[in-house]
């Protein structure tokens, strides 16, 4: 079986983003970019399934501008076998939406015929939490979102999901789509030899047109603004003072 993993290049999770003065978006020029943390977990899970003998090949795919190839190299350095780069340079006013990504990934999945597609549960830039569910819907495959544990057998995947009330277990017929939650695994670091080896692995470049996917957008970004600032707080010196403030000033006790 083959596993397809979708990865996204995003502003590094530790960066405090700044909204552009013209309110068209956030500053991404000269900002550190990395693989979306949930995507790293997805790659790691695919590799572990391959190492456990549940899969023969791991293919990483991304949709994005030329620089997104770095993210694919990272996935290859972690251990993915090969990669597919769907080139797309988005217009900042009409960013690529999850629906378009899902349609592209659907086309890739129909070509590659994986038994499983793993994605992160959300990208930490747009915070949409949509692509995996949409891909599953478009393929008419079952979905196991927010996975914290995946057990594969020949025709089925048992997935433990992080839901509001606790941990839910479901069982999916393969092929299926799984999206990863933070606690699924601890992604490995790429070692230097593996980074070197990744340079010779194949990244196939295609365009949305090659895949016959029309990426129209039905969403317009009107503006991006800073969230309201909280007014400065005070540092208190005793617990009594805290209780007094909460009771008499904030009136929340």
């Amino acid at each position: 079986m083959k596993i397809l993993v979708a990865v996204k290049r995003v502003v590094d999770y530790a960066v405090k983003v700044r909204v552009k003065p013209d309110r068209t978006g956030v500053e991404t020029a000269n900002v550190k970019m990395s693989m979306n943390p949930f995507c790293e977990i997805a790659v790691e899970e695919a590799l572990r399934l391959r190492e456990a003998g549940a899969a023969a090949e791991v293919v990483a795919a991304t949709v994005g501008p030329a620089q997104s190839a770095d993210t694919l190299r990272t996935a290859l350095a972690m251990g993915a076998d090969r990669a597919i780069h769907v080139l797309h340079d988005p217009d900042p006013a009409r960013p690529l939406l999850p629906l378009a990504v899902a349609k592209i990934l659907r086309a890739v999945a129909l070509q590659e015929k994986p038994g499983l597609v793993i994605l992160g549960k959300q990208a930490i830039d747009d915070d949409c939490n949509q692509t995996g569910q949409m891909l599953a819907g478009l393929l008419n495959w079952p979905q196991g979102t927010f996975a914290s544990k995946v057990i594969m057998d020949k025709e089925k995947a048992t997935v433990e999901r992080e839901v509001d009330g606790g941990i839910e277990t479901i069982c999916l017929d393969l092929p299926a789509v799984i999206t990863t939650d933070l606690r699924l695994n601890q992604p490995r670091y790429a070692t230097l030899p593996n980074i070197m080896k990744a340079k010779s692995k194949v990244i196939k470049k295609v365009t949305p047109e090659d895949l016959n996917v029309d990426i129209r957008s039905d969403m317009e970004v009107v503006e991006v603004t800073e969230p309201p600032k909280r007014k400065a707080g005070v540092i208190l010196s005793s617990v009594d003072e805290l209780i007094d403030k909460l009771k008499n000033e904030a009136r929340v006790l």
């Binding site: 502003v11 549960k121 939490n129 569910q133 079952p142 992080e162 969403m219 009107v222 991006v224 805290l242």
Partner: protein, 356 residues
């Protein structure tokens, strides 16, 4: 009906540049479908927030509610839903074992079918794990883009949503075909439980013939492991006390639980505390956990990472206790104490009166 006519007109002229002007100049008929979650025979508070969002779309919004499940609890909840808001004009009930569990596949078919029959202009669910799992799947089936985690509605098709862990607010305009689908952040819409005693909406059974065409059976529900707790639900609690890595052990979290007991509060945690195994994951507050906005948020041993702040920055009053004076949490806290959290906790436990 009007929506279908408008929809047909729009589709008929959708290629020309003038069609958009035409569509916008025509006053759109707003009718909304709200996907309702229920528990113990009642509509969940998060779904009442979704109703408040429907009201924010338009005061003349004709709102239909969709409930699914099986058993007497479903019908009791339908009764509750029927009188839950004056704008509710109809309650649709899908009574089948297929909807007894929150599986995305049958639910997506249900919602898809109900939307195709009703031709709603808007579909709203709450940003719960159920709503986030379901809505995008249906949106893909309908070939529309949904909006995640809406925090404010300024026009029927213009919404504000946080991006980058709440470090930016993005205003978007939906320009696509009907329906305009969204999941709403429940803490941003107060559930005005404006129960209408006089107006009780009719309850209709959904035609489930689409189910027999069956692509169901692709997924099966096995079980749900949940922590039993008598404390209020984290997402809706008036007071939340949260512990981070500074609590050091699961044992020490009991101190927080005692404090929560006294305050009638829910207990929350940072990712570090969950990963260290101090508490179960459903208590995680943050970008990837629960989003809370209580009246009082008390953070003990929480540094205040970007990802954590994303889940609590809209709290009315934030109090933080941390021995590191430079911890970022103090930049958002209204009241801070730089001290050992265990000493502060002990003192609080002694000095706060017991909740009657």
């Amino acid at each position: 009906m009007a929506a279908m006519v408008v929809g047909a007109l729009r589709r008929g002229t959708a290629t020309g540049g003038g069609s958009r002007f035409f569509a916008q100049s025509l006053r759109r008929f707003v009718n909304t479908l709200v996907v309702v979650e229920h528990e113990g025979g009642f509509v969940k508070p998060s779904s009442l927030s979704a109703l408040a969002a429907a009201e924010a779309i338009g005061k003349d919004n004709r709102v239909s509610l969709l409930l699914g499940g099986s058993g007497p609890g479903l019908h009791k909840a339908a009764g509750h839903a029927a009188s839950s808001h004056p704008l509710v004009s109809e309650v649709l009930v899908a009574d089948s074992d297929a909807f007894a569990h929150p599986l995305a596949e049958p639910w997506a078919e249900l919602l898809h079918s109900v939307q195709q029959k009703g031709g709603y202009s808007h579909v709203i669910a709450s940003s719960t794990s159920f709503g986030k799992n379901l809505l995008p799947r249906v949106a893909a089936l309908l070939d529309v883009s949904p909006v995640t985690d809406v925090t404010s509605i300024s026009e029927p098709r213009v919404f504000v949503r946080p991006i980058y862990a709440g470090n930016a607010l993005c205003t978007v305009r939906y320009t696509g075909e009907d329906p305009c689908m969204m999941s709403i952040r429940s803490t941003s819409f107060s559930p005005t439980e404006a129960m209408s005693e006089t107006k009780v909406a009719p309850i209709t059974q959904v035609d489930l013939s689409f189910l027999s065409e069956g692509s169901s059976g692709k997924s099966a529900w096995v079980n749900l492991k949940s922590q039993d707790t008598e404390r209020p639900d984290l997402s809706n609690a008036r007071v939340v006390v949260t512990g981070g890595r500074g609590l050091k052990s699961a044992e020490n979290f009991k101190l927080l639980e005692q404090l929560a007991e006294k305050l009638g509060a829910a207990v929350g945690a940072t990712r570090a505390a969950v990963d260290a195994g101090f508490v179960p994951n459903e208590l995680q507050v943050g970008q990837t956990g629960k989003i809370v906005a209580p009246e009082l948020y008390m953070a003990f041993g929480v540094s205040g990472a970007i990802q954590h702040l994303a889940g609590m920055r809209d709290s009315k009053v934030i109090a933080a206790v941390n021995k590191d004076a430079d911890a970022p949490i103090f930049q958002v806290a209204d009241y801070g104490i730089v001290a050992d959290l265990f000493e502060v906790l002990d003192e609080l436990l002694k000095k706060l009166p017991d909740k009657k």
